[in-house]
């Protein structure tokens, strides 16, 4: 093992009265990747910000401990002045953040944001700045790098933006890279590319990487060593291989169990009559005009989709962002403009209904949205929130509302003592339970869940998924479960449909689609799922077919 690069001892970080990090010790070497793993609130991001001493700007303070960075001579980062820290940030230690859209300045060109960091740490001529900026983009495999310099972040795709972020962080050749959930906001296929890119760049530069994530699948792909955090404390620290093969702490085992992975088996489809039949559905949004008097060119988000969901059946709909899966969900509920095609719910065509004729259909089909916080009115208490649809549909009187709310909350395993709480007083998982309870309040036949767990921590996501599955079976509901993550749908879907560019490219029983995918894109999605069984980084490379071979026999 080479000389240490970063040595953290007894680190304590505090936000007001809340101690976010309670005594962390770790060492990171050159060319080594240490993963900090934990769920939200575990103190992993606070640790990252403390290392760069950016924590003070966010209202936190380092109350105790030492952070030593070894360059030619060691620096104790906790003792440096603002000015000295500024000379270290971006030069010796760089950081890549989770959400590339918000982490890049929307009003500054990519080129300007790149040259800014070069300019800050070296005096270069304009020509040299430009040359280095292009080189930095080329190194992260951004095509047509020179053209990109003049573009703004919103003109790039999510994956490209994260590449720009990485190019910015690595432009000055730092010794240490802190990557805070760098692939979490990306599609699975893009995530796989970004992770591979980071591995390659590390091999080239021998930098140390502190990789922060909640996703054990990603840890398996990236880390040499792992530090598991819970509520600001170190739970377990071990080489990646040892952690995955023989986890010591019970909490680590729980995390490993909760991690979504492929190969867990899926339920067999029930043989039933169809509840929902969609055929040749086209949904188009008005696009831009070529000139003021031109007709708008419609943008087809859903481009001729046909699908069926049987009574009591769960259909998993998979595809990456922008493929039209949310538009499809909204179209089925008549919340998006349908251009042609038919939607039959319980045998009745609902695609032509308008106004109050839609009411019976909306009672039969309910939706659960991705962001539970945004889809709950912050000014209403829980009991009103969950019973509102029932009230609108005249299923409950104002006097019976509270009683119904008690039943609904118990249905989603929430304590009825929380009836009078407001959304902000619930946790993320609890909020999503409220949304499920709200959907159940009208006793629907079909529930459409649009990425219901992708905003949640893994263990919570697992609980919510299981709750949905449980409710689906108990009530014999049909469920359309939309996600970008193959591993999540596997456990709960009877059948799978894979969507790409507004069309469904493959559909079939879940196990069949996963074991023998017919379409290239399906194979790509399956391959992109990080897997926790065999850490790729510490084992010899295993080719995909072998990896899954054991799972379904």
């Amino acid at each position: 093992m080479s000389a240490p690069l970063l040595e953290v001892s007894d680190l304590h970080v505090r936000f007001g009265d809340n101690e976010a990090v309670k005594g962390l010790d770790f060492t990171l070497h050159r060319n080594e990747t240490l993963a900090l793993v934990g769920e939200s609130g575990s103190g992993k991001s606070a640790t990252a910000l403390a290392l760069l001493r950016l924590i003070e700007r966010e209202g936190g303070t380092i109350t105790r401990g030492r952070i030593r960075l070894f360059d030619e001579k060691p620096h104790d980062l906790t003792r440096l002045s603002d000015r000295q820290m500024q000379a270290i940030r971006g030069r010796l230690v760089s950081m890549v953040f989770q959400e590339p859209m918000t982490a890049l300045n929307p009003t500054m060109t990519v080129g300007r944001q790149l040259t800014e960091v070069l300019e800050r740490h070296a005096s270069l001529t304009r020509r040299e700045l430009r040359r280095q900026a292009v080189a930095a983009l080329e190194r992260v495999q951004v095509p047509r790098a020179a053209e990109r310099l003049g573009q703004y972040p919103h003109e790039l795709s999510g994956g490209q933006r994260q590449r720009v972020m990485i190019a910015m962080a690595l432009a000055t050749g730092p010794r240490l890279l802190i990557a805070d959930e760098p692939s979490t906001a990306l599609d699975v296929t893009t995530q796989a590319e970004i992770l591979a890119l980071l591995r390659r760049l590390q091999a080239e530069t021998e930098m140390g990487v502190l990789f922060i994530t909640h996703d054990l699948g990603v840890v398996a792909e990236m880390a040499d060593r792992v530090l598991v955090l819970k509520a600001g404390r170190q739970i377990e620290s071990a080489p990646a291989r040892a952690l995955f093969t023989a986890p010591q702490a019970p909490y680590t085992r729980r995390l490993l169990d909760a991690a979504p992975r492929l190969g867990g088996g899926s339920p067999t489809p029930p043989a039933t009559s169809p509840l929902l039949e969609v055929s040749d559905l086209v949904t188009a949004y008005p696009g831009r005009r070529a000139h003021p008097f031109a007709a708008r060119q419609p943008v087809r988000a859903v481009d001729g989709v046909s699908l069926q969901i049987g009574r009591g059946e769960t259909l998993g709909l998979v595809g990456e962002s922008g493929c039209g899966k949310s538009s499809l969900a909204r179209s089925i509920l008549r919340l998006a403009p349908i251009q042609s095609g038919s939607i039959r719910l319980e045998g009745r065509d609902v695609s032509q209904l308008h106004g109050r004729h839609l009411l019976p259909m909306r009672r039969a089909a309910q939706m659960i949205f991705q962001d539970p916080f945004a889809s709950l009115n912050p000014r209403l208490p829980a009991w009103k929130l969950v019973t509102e649809p029932a009230l609108i549909h005249g299923l409950v009187s104002e006097r019976e509302r509270r009683d119904l709310a008690v039943t609904l909350l118990s249905e989603v395993t929430l304590d009825s003592a929380h009836l009078d709480r407001y959304p902000h007083q619930f946790s993320g998982g609890q909020r999503q339970r409220l949304c499920i309870a709200r959907a159940l309040s009208v006793r629907p036949r079909l529930i459409i869940a649009d990425e219901p767990v992708s905003a949640l921590d893994v263990s919570i996501a697992r609980q919510v998924t299981e709750l949905l599955q449980d409710i689906q079976q108990r009530h014999g509901l049909s469920l359309l479960f939309i996600t970008h993550d193959m591993a999540v749908v596997e456990r709960i879907s009877h059948r799978l449909a894979v969507m790409l560019g507004g069309r469904i490219v493959e559909t079939g029983p879940t196990a069949e689609v996963l074991t023998s995918p017919q379409h290239d894109y399906t194979r790509k999605l399956i391959d992109a799922v990080p897997h926790t069984e065999i850490p790729r980084r510490v084992s010899t490379a295993v080719s995909p077919p072998e990896r899954y071979a054991g799972a379904w026999v």
């Binding site: 500024q86 000379a87 940030r89 950081m95 953040f97 009003t107 800014e116």
Partner: protein, 310 residues
């Protein structure tokens, strides 16, 4: 850009037509012009000749039609009270008003934007809270009260500033200050709020992680993003200033501008002057809005011209 401008032009023409029509009929509903022109004791013969001279004998629709045709030909009529073409009367008054309003706009921008950003960045310091207290006081003070106060102190007691007219730069100090006060106070508050929003953004953390100093973070990353929000409010302020803002201040400081002219015209039922005044203000407002939209697209690369039109 071109299609954006042509769209705007179409809108302008429609807006002007509606404005002209409304003003034409509204002015005629509110009183008789001849009583003011003629004064008391005029004999019936002369009175009837006057009515004919100003074209007020025909029925109202014919008058309206004649007026529309005049506009197309660039003929806006004679002022009843001054007996000269309204364009001539107007032209003499445009300069002083533009200077007054321009001064106020400039002062507002120069004072309010830096003060607002300062108040947000140093929000925990006493100095920033002092700025906000002043802004609050300024917002609560009507401009005619401030104008009177300024006159009392600087013209009457100290006798260092002229109280009326617009001959030298010294004449501008009090009217411009009095006119800007409310706008400065309001814009400080908007700028502060906009800056606070920007200060919470993730990209500032990125900027700091690059090693930029706080000063660089504010000047390079905060300023422009703040301006995006401030600009739309600022646009509303400029329109308000142009359409009505200067009337009171012009009367107080005997400023021979458009505001003063329009108030007199309204009192005397000088239809042609009123009509042309409203027309001019409408053109100015649409032009300013267009300029603000262009500025908006320039500051915020995510905005495409024309996207906000529809």
């Amino acid at each position: 850009m071109l299609s954006f401008l042509s769209m705007r032009l179409v809108k302008l023409v429609v807006t002007l037509f509606v404005v002209i029509t409304l003003v034409f009929f509204a002015t005629r509903l509110s009183g008789n012009a001849i009583d003011f022109i003629a004064g008391e004791g005029l004999d019936a013969q002369s009175r009837s000749e006057l009515i004919a001279y100003y074209g007020l004998r025909e029925d109202i629709l014919t008058q309206y039609w004649r007026y529309l045709r005049g506009i197309v030909e660039g003929e806006f009529g004679l002022s009843f009270t001054e007996r000269r073409p309204v364009t001539q009367v107007f032209w003499e008054r445009v300069g002083p008003t533009l200077q007054l309003i321009g001064g106020a706009i400039l002062l507002t921008l120069v004072v309010a934007v830096p003060a607002g950003i300062f108040a947000a960045v140093r929000r925990r310091d006493a100095s920033a809270q002092g700025v906000m207290t002043l802004a609050f006081l300024g917002y609560a003070t009507p401009n005619f009260v401030l104008a009177t106060l300024l006159l009392l102190v600087f013209s009457y007691w100290l006798q260092i500033l002229p109280s009326a007219g617009n001959d030298t730069w010294a004449h501008y100090l009090m009217p411009v200050t009095a006119l800007s006060l409310t706008y400065i106070a309001a814009l400080i508050r908007y700028t502060r709020n906009a800056t606070l929003d920007v200060l919470g953004q993730d990209y500032l953390r990125t900027a700091r992680a690059k090693g930029l100093s706080e000063r660089e973070v504010v000047t390079r990353h905060v300023l422009r993003n703040t301006l995006i929000t401030v600009l739309s409010v600022f646009g509303l302020m400029v329109t308000a200033l142009v359409s009505s803002g200067a009337v009171v201040i012009e009367s107080i400081f005997s400023w021979r501008g458009i505001g003063d002219l329009l108030v007199r015209a309204a009192i005397r039922r000088d239809y042609p002057v009123l009509q042309f005044g409203v027309l001019a203000v409408a053109v100015a407002v649409v032009t300013i809005n267009t300029l603000i939209d262009i500025a908006y697209a320039w500051v915020d690369p995510r905005v495409r011209l024309g996207a906000r039109l529809t």
